[in-house]
Symmetry: C2
Subunit: 476 residues, 2 copies
Amino acid sequence: MAKNITARSSDYSKWYTDVVIQAKLADYSPVKGSMVIRPNGYAIWEMIQQNLDRMFKDTGHVNAYFPLLIPESFMTKEAEHVEGFAPECAVVTHGGGQPLEENLYIRPTSETIIWSMYKKWIMSYRDLPILINQWANVMRWEMRTRLFLRTSEFLWQEGHTAHATAEEAEAETLRMLNVYKTFAEEYLAMPVIAGRKSESEKFAGAVHTYSIEAMMQDKKALQAGTSHNLGQNFAKAFDVQFQDKDGQRRYVYATSWGVSTRLIGALIMTHSDDNGLVLPPRLAQRPVVIVPIYRKEEEKTRVLAYADALHKELSARHKVIFDDREQYKPGYKFAEWELQGIPLRIEIGPRDVENNKVVLVRRDTMQKEFIDRSAIAAKVDETLPLMQREMLEKARVWQKENTFNVDDYDSLKSIIAGDGGFINAHWCGSADCEATVKEATKATIRNIPFDREEEKGACVVCGKPSDGRVIFAKAY
Amino acid sequence: MAKNITARSSDYSKWYTDVVIQAKLADYSPVKGSMVIRPNGYAIWEMIQQNLDRMFKDTGHVNAYFPLLIPESFMTKEAEHVEGFAPECAVVTHGGGQPLEENLYIRPTSETIIWSMYKKWIMSYRDLPILINQWANVMRWEMRTRLFLRTSEFLWQEGHTAHATAEEAEAETLRMLNVYKTFAEEYLAMPVIAGRKSESEKFAGAVHTYSIEAMMQDKKALQAGTSHNLGQNFAKAFDVQFQDKDGQRRYVYATSWGVSTRLIGALIMTHSDDNGLVLPPRLAQRPVVIVPIYRKEEEKTRVLAYADALHKELSARHKVIFDDREQYKPGYKFAEWELQGIPLRIEIGPRDVENNKVVLVRRDTMQKEFIDRSAIAAKVDETLPLMQREMLEKARVWQKENTFNVDDYDSLKSIIAGDGGFINAHWCGSADCEATVKEATKATIRNIPFDREEEKGACVVCGKPSDGRVIFAKAY
C-alpha cells in the first residue's frame, strides 16, 4: 500500500479521494463545488477527447461552439426541461457593471440555446441532418463535491443533432450510445451494459434516454454516458420546422448525447488499486517509464548509456519517460510512477547491463519479468495491447461475479444492504414499484438492458407480469 | 464578386461580416454580445488548437483546467488587475436557487484563481517551474459585437507559469511570444511585428507586456497575441513563496500569455477576398476539393469513375472533399468552395477525361492550370506548401508597402486620417505624448519592435530625444 493512500478495504470512498489527490489528478478549489483538473488528470481527459472526437468525426459529426449563457426565457420554453434544470443553475444577474434586463443562466446543458439557432439554420430537408457536437464546460450547482464524480462545473461533450424523420433520430440515438459503449470498452477497458432508462430516470425533455452503466470496484453502478431521443419536443418549443420533399412543413426530430470528465472517476474506480492509479495503456499519454538504477559512479556511466540507448529505441514507437533525475532514489521513483499509473516500468541496474537484460513491471498485475535486451521492444509492443485486453477482461469478470439474478424482494433488499452488486430482477414497468425499491434500498433501475433475455416473470415488488429483467443497483 | 458579399473596396467592415456569415464561420446569438462559432469556423479553431498545443508541449508545457467562477475577493487582491477587469465582468449572484454569500465573477482571465492554487502547490524550488496552459472560455462584457474580434465570451488559451528567478520568467515570456510569432507566420501565413507594449497599453497587473501585431487589409493593426511578465505581483497578492536552494523564502515569478478565437478574425482579414474566405493550406482541415462536371448520363459514368480514382489516390496523403452531390450544378459548387476558402479545387469534365488531364485552381490567386493526370498528385503535394509560402509573402509585401517612416507630427496625422498604415516614428517614451496622438488620431502605439534600428531621433510629438522608432496605428 502506498503512503498516504487509504486501503480500498478500509474505506473505499477515502481511497478514491486519496488516489485522485495523491496522483495529482485533481484538487479542491476555493470555489465551493468546483474542482481543479491538474495536469495528470487533464492528460487523461485529452486522451478521452482525442479518441472520442475521432469516433464522432468518423460517424459524420462536426464540432461547433455555442454561448455559455442562456436567457432565462429560453430555459422555460420546454416545460420538463426547465423543471429539471432551472433549480440547479448558476444565475448571472449583472454584467459590465449593470444589472441585466433578463437573467442569464450558465448552461447546465445546451439544448435550448442550440435549438434557438437551429431555428435560424433549418429551412428545408436539404439542411438536414445537422450533426453537431460541442466540447464545453457546463454547470449544475452542487454543494457536496466529489472530485470528477460530482462537481458544479464539469467538462463534457454534448452532441445535438437534427433529423427529418423519427426513424433517423432513433438510429442516431442508438448509434452514439454504441460509440460510447465501444469507447468505454476498447479505451477505458471498462465493460458497460447498454440499455434504456426507465421513465423516471430519463433526461428532462427526452422521449427516452439510453445509457451505458459500469460497475465500480465497490459494486456500485456508474452511469458513464447517455444518449437521448428528444423527439419533436425541442423543435416544438422553439418552433423549428422544415419544408419536406413533399412540400409539407414538419417539425424536426432531435437527439442529444454526452459524456463528461466523470469518465475519469469511472476509470479510476474501475482499475486502480491501493498503490494508486492504474491506467489502461490506450489512455496513457506516456505508457512506458525507464528507471535507471546505480550506486557507484562507474555503474552510473554504464547504466545510463544502456538506458539511454533503449530510450531512443523505444521512443520511435511509444512516448517514453526517461527518469534520470538525480535527486530521487529508485524506490521513490517506482512508487511515484505506480501512483501515477504508468502502464509499464522498465528497470535497469548494473547487473541487468552485464546480463544484457532489463526488468519489466506491469502496473496492473505488478508482475516482474526479466527480458533480454534484444527482445524488449517487441515485448513492449506486445504487452501494451495485452494489458489493455486483460484489464477489460478482469473488469468483466468482476461485473459478472457481482451480478445476481434475483426473484424475490427480500433477496434484493438483503444483497443491496449487504455486499451490493447488480441485481437482475423482473419489474412490471410501474414507477411506483421503482420508487418503492429506491426508498427502501436507495437502489435505482440503472437501465433495461438491450441484450436481456426474453423471459416472462413476476415483478419482484408487486408480482405483476414482467417481460424481462432490469438492473437494480446503488449508483454514483 | 460572390453573391451576398460586399466588396472590400466599398465597405471593408461590411465585407468582413459578410464573409463570416456567408462562409458560415460564425453567427450572432440571441445572447447580447455572444456569438456562435459554426462548424466551418470551429474547424479553423481546431487547427489552431492542434498546432499551438503541439508547440506548447514541445516547449515543456502541460494542460490543466481551473474553475470558471472566481470569488469577488480574489479579483480584488491585485490592485491593477481588479481595476482593469472587474468593470467588464459578468457576475453570478445566485446558485442552486439561493442568493450566494459571495458574488462570483465569470473569469475574464484566470491569474487570480490559478495563483490561489499555486499557493497550495508550491513549497520548494523543486516544485518550480510550473508550466501550465489552459484552453478555456472567458468573458469580458461587450455590447457591440464584432464576430470573432469583439464578443463577450470568447475561446482562448492562457499559459500561466511560475519560476524561481526573474531571468527565467523573462526568458519564458519571450519564448512564448516567439512561439506565437512562429505560429502566426508559419501557419496563419500572417507576418507579425514582435515587440514590447508601452506602459499605458500593458496588461493590468503585468510588469511588462509583449505583443505580436499584424496588419489587416484595411491597414489597421490587430494585436494577435500577448505575453506578460508578471514579475512577483501575483505571488505577492496571493502570498506564494518558495524555499530556495539556499534555504531562503522568496516570492515566485510569474508569466502569462494568450491567444484567442480573435486569430480567426485576423486570418480572415489578412487573406480573404471578395469571393469569400481564403484559407492558408496548413489551416484547412480539408485542403482539396474535387468537383466532377458532366451533363449526359454516359459522361457521368466516365467522369465519376475518373474522379473517384483520383479521390482515392489523393486521399492517401490529404483530406479531400469529393463533391459528387447531384442536386447542385458545378458553378454553384465552385462558388461554395471558394466562399469556404478550400485551398485547391480540382475540376474534372468529360474533355479532361479524354485528354488525361484535370483542371487545378488555386484559391488565393484563382489561377487555373491544366495538369496531366499522372502529375496531379505530385502537383498537389508541391502546390500546398508553395501557396502557404506565397500567401505569407504577399501579406509581407502588403505590410511593408503600407509602413511609413515619419518624422513630423503632421505627416503622421495626415497618413492616419487618410489611407492609414503603420507609422514608424520616434517617441520620447512619455504617456502624455502617446495620449496626445491617440486623442488626435485614434492611433495607438502598437508596440516597440524588438528589431528596430538603433537610431537617435526626436519625439514626433514633443521633440524630446528618442532612442528609436515605435509603431503607431489604428487598431482593432
